[in-house]
Subunit: 154 residues, 2 copies
Amino acid sequence: MTDLQQPGFSQCNNATLRRTARRLGRFYDEALAPSGLKGTQFGLLFQISVGSEPAMGAIAEALIMDLSALGHTLKPLVRDGYVETFPDKDDRRVKRVRLTPSGQAKLDEAIKLWSVAQRQFEAMVGAERAAKLRATLDEVAALNLELPAAASSG
Amino acid sequence: MTDLQQPGFSQCNNATLRRTARRLGRFYDEALAPSGLKGTQFGLLFQISVGSEPAMGAIAEALIMDLSALGHTLKPLVRDGYVETFPDKDDRRVKRVRLTPSGQAKLDEAIKLWSVAQRQFEAMVGAERAAKLRATLDEVAALNLELPAAASSG
DNA sequence: CGCCGAAAGTGGCACATGCCACTAATTGAA
DNA sequence: TTCAATTAGTGGCATGTGCCACTTTCGGCG
């Protein structure tokens, strides 16, 4: 047996997922490189663009991302002028986010690059299977996962 | 066609994958928390344990991880005494890695915690489906993804 | 043997993420 | 109205990941 990462190097669902995410992330990043955006930034810009000046909390929830992590991730995009924030009219705690014209243009540019990677991926995997995989992943992401209450002492 | 976000908030395979990875990562991290290890560290320790004093390059390849990223990820584990490195006997460029007794003990401890999360996940998704999902993810990770050579100038 | 190019790691830099402690603004109740 | 609890974000800290520029070794050639 030639060791190495046998079929399914690990039974761990989490490890397998992360491993594939690294692989795919590099591929999409490579495709997006000419735009200067990373895959994560592209996804974030896209999410903002489809929302109606979403609040940070709403974005974080949609992306299943920690709110503070979102704040950090947003910084480079604000710095580069792709995104701007402003306080909600009725609740000053709420910070809303929108694309700047420059950000919209950058997103349009990135979408073209993204499409190449997306098509390539679907050509390899099959659009049908890719859709099914995304559906499964969305389903998993929506699970109400909870650790069994550790029966303390009982 | 109005759809767009919600159901499958994005058509992007990469974004969907990362999103689910964040979700699952938090779940496994929560389960592993008592051990002080993160899901990534657990996966790394495990990978090292199943290898024969693997070289860094071999680990990076198995995990589809950038070699320098692996180096960074390894640091906390070395610092905490779970892992140690040593030069290969025949090739001084190669750095090999192994668990320390403390690291093996920590891994054993973590495996118990991991099992809880793993079982819980499989109970929700179904062991069969989970296995199929991992197989699909492994398959995707193994794809020889390449951007179509941008036909520059005619 | 001496040189060149490939291979394996390292370090620095930037961004991705999460948790925790803290601040500010709101809401609900006495 | 006033104060406790809640909600939305921020900042700091630690780790995860990748890319790039280097440095050290190896291996192959002339």
